[in-house]
Symmetry: C2
Subunit: 291 residues, 2 copies
């Protein structure tokens, strides 16, 4: 059984990115610049954004963090988006989700210039990904595909089962893995809360992707011997023994499932770091397009 | 075994559309107007476009057909697209595919104003469909979903297997059927040419959709007893006994498969007429949006 080490892989990719940035600067090209808008003070969002800023430093990117209060109006937020769309110094930017309830998240997503939408959430990027055209890929699915590639885990002709049909993981990952080509060509099944007898479907997966956000939901009986298991779950579970008061829990019962697997991602240290790396790769690509 | 009669269903929907058009006109609202650009003289394309023009008549729509020669340049074609984008009298339009090889099909698709893209091929509509937002749905998948709805064939919790991953059928249909809601909530598997042991996957389908364009490919051993079978194939097969010299063949070996099914669509007279009806519904919706 092999642990798929997303932390080490992401560190390696960030090193590769930093080298390309150095080469860019040596050639007189500009330093990639990622901006992020963070609304409010949600603990999870604070951590995610802090990690993104940190990754920018490691990659040699310029980063800008725009903090707005929970009480910000939709119009004010849209004005910030518009300013970043028009800022020639910014290659790409993200608006950290979720947003406060009084703001129409989709309206904000669609206000972002698709050419700067490094999260890949704008319908233009979602649609281009679906039909297999160049685009900013959604970060988590792209991170998963890159992990499989670097660990030489083929997808062609494999039975891939994705549990969870979210717009940021399940659906775009399905689109990527069914695409023609070396990193696709899988037979893809998407399961979800309305799937009866889920275990009978997951137990047939060569590659099982758990992405529903239910800690420890995937138990050993739901996994085939020799499967590759990708755990996208990162739920904060209360844990009095930790200084933070919580621990991150995946959707897979790791202790019980891991012994059955050919390969498995841990939580933390699996898919999570790869998601941030995908954002860095999209930002680098955005910078290249503007050269 | 029930034959799912797409011809009768589409006739009924066209009647409903014509009634709405009458009501629109009585209220002083404008008559919906669909335009089509047809490049060259491909026999299949000629037939499709002629059927669309005829459907417009039945629905009470205004229609405009713009015929261009095979030799048309991409710039000339794009100029026609731009003119239709800007024509306030046109609610929606299509560019009949395929286009001659010297023309970049995707560039033409992306030049169409998404608000007039009643084929639903523009990435904005593909992306909005994927995330479950209001959009112009791709015509064939929307026609299939409407057929299932009108025949009271539930999709919720059902095992749907789609054979074929095209951008106009397989992928968008998968997105629609996995969506949350009454017409979705299915467990969806997409198979294709790289799927090994295809029969073992298709034989587990409650609803099997054949959309790969290989006449008679789906044989009885590939279908579960009691399945619903949707045949999207429409390949012209040479047939000396016909005046036209060909007959339309579906992807399903109908004679052998039909007796096993709870319900099945014939070819012709199944999905085909519903595809055109979806285009009419999209055009009506485009007209409503401009009221």
């Amino acid at each position: 059984m092999q642990i798929i080490d997303g932390k080490a892989t992401s560190a390696q990719i960030k090193k590769e990115i930093a080298e390309e940035v150095e080469q860019r600067l040596a050639k007189g090209l500009h330093r990639p610049h990622l901006a992020a808008i963070l609304v409010g003070h949600d603990g999870g969002s604070e951590t995610y954004v802090a990690n993104k800023v940190k990754a920018c430093e490691v990659c040699g990117f310029k980063s800008t963090l725009i903090r707005l209060e929970d009480s910000v109006s939709q119009d004010e937020l849209l004005a910030h988006v518009e300013a970043l769309n028009n800022d020639p110094d910014v290659d790409g930017f993200i608006v950290q989700l979720p947003l406060p309830r009084h703001i129409d998240e989709q309206a904000v997503i669609e206000a972002i210039d698709p050419a700067k939408d490094v999260d890949g959430f704008h319908p233009v990027n979602v649609g281009r990904q679906s039909v297999g055209l160049p685009c900013f890929h959604s970060a988590t699915p792209a991170g998963i595909v890159e992990l499989l590639r670097r660990y030489n885990i083929p997808t062609r002709g494999k039975n891939v089962v994705i549990v969870g049909r979210s717009n940021i993981v399940g659906k775009p990952l399905a689109a990527m893995l069914m695409q023609k080509g070396e990193q696709g060509d899988a037979t893809v099944t998407v399961c979800h809360s309305a799937t009866p007898d889920l275990a009978s479907v997951t137990a047939k997966a060569d590659i099982l992707v758990a992405a529903m956000g239910r800690p420890g939901f995937i138990t050993a009986d739901m996994v085939a011997d020799g499967a590759t298991v990708i755990d996208v779950g990162t739920t904060r579970v209360p844990d009095a023994s930790r200084k933070s008061g919580f621990r991150l829990s995946g959707d897979v019962d790791f202790e019980a499932v891991a012994p059955k697997c050919t390969a498995i991602t841990p939580v933390p240290g699996g898919v999570g770091p790869m998601t941030i790396v995908s954002l860095m790769l999209n930002t680098l690509e955005a910078a290249r397009r503007r050269d």
